[in-house]
């Protein structure tokens, strides 16, 4: 009767591919050579897109931009685990997710240049526009999952957020609902160790982000977020579990934000250089390359070819975006309501 233990939890961590390209064969997801190459090529493409965006910003051709450098494995690994019919709710740093899901790169450039037309979501693609108020996209994903469950559609919903996002009430209310209704959601936290200048330990006192799932009655797992194979496997498993009615999963991708928070930020004000250097060595592209090489899937020539192809695609996207005529000022009246109100009609007339 006295003091008794009534519940116990064990938080797991998944690592498959280490910094030296060594893998745990027992855990490597079964992927064809082509699939591995596609995976690697998306890592490279995202990196090149990201670098280009940073340049465009420096040249003043786009506005403030949040770099995803260092988080490629977390984004590509997870997005590749989703099917086209699944629903994706990104945060604001997920260029890699948009690219992997087939969202046009030139639209991303157009959007970041301050043109809302870039966020027109192509029909047939179930990805939400990016979400800037931190964590607020989480309940949207939960609602979409409720709808999918009600319609008996076999879809999983993936929602992305950062370590900072886990502090918001939206995170709590969303995950709690997902637990109560056993919804097909995969909660993907990219714990990149920083929320602008606030380090992970000051964001929450819990040892891991993954363990927060147990507050909601479902499992959480931490994965090496710079290990694209581990992220892919964990997400694939969670997506399957979701579709099989097993309910939600929280995946903590343990990774790092290599760049400044955004182009308006100066991380040197608050972030120790050594930490940055330490993480640069864990580069997700590098270790994947070493792994591919061992499998004879990688060569200098191949690398050059992939980079050239990616650069060409990014050039193309940039050109295409710049070629778009500026929006008609009257465009701002178009989408506030389905149809113009009396007042908007007057305002438009006098515009």
């Amino acid at each position: 009767m006295p003091e008794s233990v009534i519940e116990s939890f064990h938080v797991k961590r998944l690592d498959i591919l280490d910094e030296h390209g060594k893998v745990d064969e027992s855990l490597v997801p079964t992927l064809s050579d082509d699939e591995l190459k596609k995976m690697y090529e998306l890592l490279v493409l995202s990196r090149i897109f990201d670098q280009r965006a940073l340049n465009l910003q420096r040249e003043g051709r786009i506005g403030t931009f949040p770099s995803m450098m260092g988080q490629e494995a977390s984004q590509i690994g997870s997005a590749l685990a989703a099917e086209k019919s699944d629903w994706i709710f990104p945060s604001f740093r997920e260029s890699g997710v948009y690219i992997t899901m087939g969202f046009p790169m030139h639209s991303l450039v157009q959007y970041w240049s301050g043109d809302e037309r870039g966020m027109k979501i192509p029909e047939g693609l179930n990805i939400f526009p990016l979400c800037i108020p931190v964590g607020t996209q989480i309940p949207h994903a939960v609602g979409a999952a409720m709808a999918a469950k009600y319609r008996k559609d076999r879809v999983a919903v993936l929602v992305y957020f950062g370590d900072g996002g886990t502090s918001r009430g939206d995170f709590h209310e969303g995950l709690n609902m997902a637990g109560v209704f056993k919804l097909p959601v995969v909660f993907l936290c990219q714990n990149n160790q920083w929320a602008i200048s606030v380090p992970r330990e000051q964001q929450t006192a819990s040892r891991t982000i993954a363990q927060k799932a147990y507050a909601y009655g479902f499992d959480g797992i931490q994965v090496d977020g710079n290990d694209v194979l581990a992220v892919f496997k964990a997400t694939k498993d969670a997506v399957r579990k979701a579709k099989d009615g097993g309910g939600p999963t929280l995946i903590e991708c343990f990774t790092y934000r290599i760049a400044d928070h955004t182009t308006s930020d100066d991380a040197s004000r608050y972030r120790p250089k050594e930490e940055l250097e330490m993480w640069k060595a864990k580069d997700p592209l590098l270790r994947m390359r070493l792994f591919m090489k061992k499998k004879n899937l990688w060569s200098e020539a191949y690398q050059k070819e992939v980079e050239a192809r990616s650069t060409a695609a990014v050039d193309e996207a940039g050109k295409k975006a710049e070629a778009i005529a500026p929006p008609d000022p009257k465009d701002m009246f178009t989408y506030t309501y389905a149809s113009l109100t009396q007042r908007l009609t007057r305002e438009l007339r006098d515009f």
């Binding site: 966020m119 607020t136 989480i138 609602g143 409720m146 609902m177």
Partner: protein, 320 residues
């Protein structure tokens, strides 16, 4: 032909629309087995089951946020917030997302959802159970705000709200829930959003009100040749109807229970002062609640616009 009060009328609207359209789902706190604390969703749980009449955890942000996702997916969520005083935690989701997802996604996704909530004072309730902050929501582009003033109107407006492609905040005056009974036509009918209603024709003065204040106003205008406008949709409100009547009578009184400052009366008055000024014979008078923290039941009646205060307002503008 059924004779019903507003609670029953709203319940009928929900039931009929859910029968008609299986994309319509209801969610909120205690809307299921309990049928809602005011019984507006009574019987829906038994009829449509827990997948369509969803008792949620106690989480207003999450409820409205989830509704945004449901609407994007293609459902027509009808959220119940238990009292307007508890809607503030949902404002972020309503303003930042429901109101903007159409614009943000360039029309690919819409925030086609309804948030129903009991509102207003006059039922001697606890703190936070008598809020009337409708103007907060009229300010946000992308949001529509509707207030019914009778059972028949409530049913017609709720059907329109559910079918509307934009997010609608549907405010239900608690004082009227069981105060009035009305006959409902058997045939389906809707009342368009964005249109006001002349509740009473008149020549000397225009009095604009909505919800429970409309009834006080109709009592207050006895003996005056007053035109009474029931605004019904607060945002976007029917400027044309308001301006037309203001130009006709040249005298305007706006009545609402919210405090004067930045209440909807201010917008109505400003619209008239901008577009009908030359037709005015008198100042535009607002008869409203005071700019104070809403008092508890013992002082509630002193806070609210009374019939006397409304009459005083009318007499003031008629002096000119």
């Amino acid at each position: 032909m059924a004779t019903v009060n507003m609670v029953q009328a709203l319940n009928l609207a929900l039931r009929e629309e859910m029968d008609r359209d299986k994309d319509v789902v209801v969610l909120g706190e205690d809307v299921g087995k309990d049928g809602g604390v005011f019984r507006v969703t009574d019987g829906l749980f038994a009829r449509f089951g827990p997948e369509r009449v969803i008792d949620t955890p106690l989480a207003e942000t999450g409820i409205v946020g989830a509704a945004v996702g449901m609407a994007a997916y293609g459902l027509k969520p009808v959220v119940e917030i238990q009292f307007m005083g508890f809607i503030y935690a949902a404002i972020d989701q309503l303003f930042s997302h429901a109101a903007r997802i159409r614009a943000r996604s360039r029309g690919r996704f819409t925030g086609s959802l309804v948030i129903r909530t009991p509102y207003g004072s006059g039922i001697k309730a606890l703190e936070h159970h008598s809020e009337s902050t409708e103007a907060l929501f009229c300010q946000m582009p992308g949001v529509k705000v509707v207030v019914p003033s009778s059972p028949r109107i409530a049913k017609g407006l709720l059907l329109s709200a559910i079918r509307d492609p934009d997010p609608v905040l549907f405010l239900e005056p608690t004082r009227l829930y069981r105060l009035i009974k009305e006959d409902l036509p058997d045939a389906e009918y809707t009342i368009p959003l964005g249109k006001a209603r002349i509740a009473r024709e008149g020549k000397d003065v225009t009095v604009i009100a909505w919800g429970s204040m409309l009834h006080r106003t109709l009592q207050a205008v006895e003996g005056f040749d007053a035109e009474v406008i029931d605004l019904m949709t607060l945002n976007p409100f029917d400027e044309e109807a308001v301006l037309q009547s203001a130009k006709k009578t040249g005298r305007v009184v706006v009545v609402h229970e919210a405090p004067a400052t930045c209440g909807l009366g201010a917008e109505i008055s400003a619209t008239i002062a901008e577009h009908a000024m030359l037709h005015l014979k008198a100042p535009i008078v607002r008869v409203t609640g005071y700019d104070v923290v809403l008092p508890l039941p013992k002082l509630e009646d002193y806070y609210l616009p009374s019939i006397e205060k409304i009459r005083k307002g009318i007499e003031t503008v008629l002096k000119y």
